[in-house]
């Protein structure tokens, strides 16, 4: 004879399954609605541009902007601008990532390094470092080195802070057992400390990436030359509004792809971590 508890368990399991089903349905519905509302936005853009309420200068229609991007792609300028912006932003970001993690790790190991850099990082982090752009121009000119330098300067701070916080939060038991089993300092860093701190380090990188993109675009706008920011500014100077809107569409696509890619890399790298098992909200 089946006991009541069994039945209750069965009911709970069934509820679980149906809940999972509902969640999947909800997800499908949500992504459908997502595509729908983005399409709605584009449709609204197109309709509003043609309604006669705004001049084509204020808001060129979406199809005009798409044609502009297409011509730019055929002419080849798009690829040069895109490539240069991506190159500078990623090189700057990678230097900031490696440098920031290294500095954070060194600071956690050595109290003198910590003493020296701690106030610089904590005062420098909330500063609008973009204000130093004219100083960078004065020192390094307006070419790639200057553009990459300001990206590095700005994107390093969140990485250092996140690395420090991540390392500080590593469980002492892990360190004790590793040391007990005879791990060298070097092995401790690479095999225990950095992996255990990696969720927070990755969060720091996820903060640094949008900063790198924002700053790269600003640097290109101020310094001019090739690159998506420079092209947008050039179009704006010649009152070429399809060019300006084409720029924002291109930059939006780049930002979207890079930031989604970063989130994917996080999920892959942290597949072993308990956060991967938790339901995501994003």
């Amino acid at each position: 004879m089946a006991r009541v508890e069994d039945q209750a368990g069965l009911a709970a399991a069934e509820a679980d399954i149906s809940q999972a089903g509902a969640r999947r349905l909800d997800l499908a519905f949500r992504s459908g609605a997502g595509v729908f509302s983005v399409l709605l936005l584009l449709l609204f853009w197109q309709g509003f541009a043609h309604s006669g309420r705004v001049t084509p200068f204020m808001l060129p229609s979406f199809t005009v902007v798409l044609t502009y991007i297409k011509n730019d792609a055929i002419g080849g300028d798009l690829w040069i601008n895109l490539g240069l912006t991506l190159y500078r932003a990623t090189v700057g970001f990678l230097i900031a990532a490696v440098g920031g993690i290294t500095l954070g790790a060194l600071m956690s190991r050595n109290k003198y390094i910590h003493w020296f850099f701690d106030p610089i990082i904590s005062v420098g982090f909330p500063m609008p470092k973009i204000a130093f752009l004219p100083v960078i121009i004065l020192w390094l000119g307006v070419y790639d080195v200057a553009k990459i330098s300001i990206v590095v300067f700005d994107a390093t701070f969140p990485v250092v802070t996140a690395t420090l916080a991540g390392i500080a939060a590593v469980e002492k038991e892990l360190l004790w057992s590793a040391r007990n089993m005879g791990a060298s300092e070097r092995a401790m860093m690479w095999q225990i400390v950095l992996p255990a701190a990696s969720p927070q380090i990755l969060t720091g990188l996820q903060v640094a990436l949008p900063i790198a993109l924002i700053v790269e675009i600003i640097a290109e706008m101020v310094m001019g030359g090739y690159g998506l920011g420079g092209a947008m500014m050039g179009a704006s100077r010649f009152a070429n509004s399809p060019g300006v809107f084409a720029g924002i569409v291109e930059i939006a696509v780049i930002g979207f792809i890079l930031i989604k890619a970063m989130a994917m890399i996080r999920r892959r790298l942290l597949i072993w971590h308990q956060e991967a098992a938790e339901p995501t909200t994003a």
Partner: protein, 249 residues
């Protein structure tokens, strides 16, 4: 005792300042590229005296404040409404997700195209850019508010508005305040850069103007002022945050 500790803690900054002065004075680096810090201080006092730093600073801070205020009002309400009202959530959330990864600086030329070189374009820029983190903060915070509290408030006869204000808002506050903090940092970045690019007034304009006329001491003075203000604003905001959240354990 704490004074000495603070002194030791921040002494690297003093060392950096001394190093700066020495490098410039001993001509190890070109004093044009790096004027001595003492000369920068003199230039700063001059800029305060003739009022240039004050008038441009006022213009900048007004823009940043207005943009951020609008973003907090609109973003806060939108985020909380999205969290409580599913239909709105389903249709607006994808748009928030679409604009979240946009490097916000790309909006600079567009706002100039719409509103010109003055205050309006900067306020619009800061409003649009800061609205995203504020909305996300309010949304995440309000979603975390306990359903039981909402139900009890409703069953005790609280109106929807009152329930939002008395129940949802306080529980959303910590995350909302974090979103605003991100917005505050973003506001400073976009303010200075938009003023550097196109403006006739403001900190960024003054930096660009002094730089182009070769008055590098003055340029450094304004750059350091802006950097300090950004830092001070963040620290003040943290104090405000702690005060607003003092009821929490």
């Amino acid at each position: 005792m704490t004074a000495i500790k603070t002194l030791i803690r921040y002494s690297p900054l003093v060392l950096l300042a001394l190093l700066w002065e020495a490098l410039a004075r001993l001509n190890i680096v070109d004093s044009l590229a790096l004027p001595p810090l003492s000369k920068v201080a003199v230039a700063w006092i001059d800029l305060i005296r003739d009022g240039e730093l004050i008038t441009n600073g006022e213009a900048s801070l007004y823009r940043a404040f207005m943009g951020l205020l609008l973003a907090v009002l609109f973003g806060g309400v939108l985020g909380m409404a999205m969290a409580r009202w599913r239909t709105l959530d389903i249709f607006v959330n994808p748009l928030v997700e679409l604009f979240y990864p946009l490097p916000k600086s790309a909006l600079i030329p567009i706002t100039v195209l719409w509103l010109g070189f003055g205050d309006g374009s900067k306020i619009l820029l800061i409003f649009l850019a800061c609205m995203i983190p504020v909305t996300i903060g309010a949304y995440n915070g309000a979603r975390g508010s306990e359903q039981v509290l909402v139900w009890s408030a409703r069953s005790m006869g609280a109106s929807r508005m009152r329930m939002m204000w008395d129940v949802v808002m306080p529980s959303a506050l910590p995350e909302l305040l974090n979103g605003i903090r991100t917005g505050l940092a973003l506001a400073f970045i976009l303010l200075v850069s938009s003023e550097l690019i196109v403006s006739q007034q403001g900190f960024g304009y003054l930096i660009g103007y002094l730089g182009s006329t070769g008055a590098y001491e003055g340029m450094y003075a304004v750059v350091l002022t802006v950097a300090f203000l950004g830092f001070a604003a963040d620290r003040l905001y943290q104090v405000l945050m702690q005060w607003l959240l003092r009821w929490r354990e």
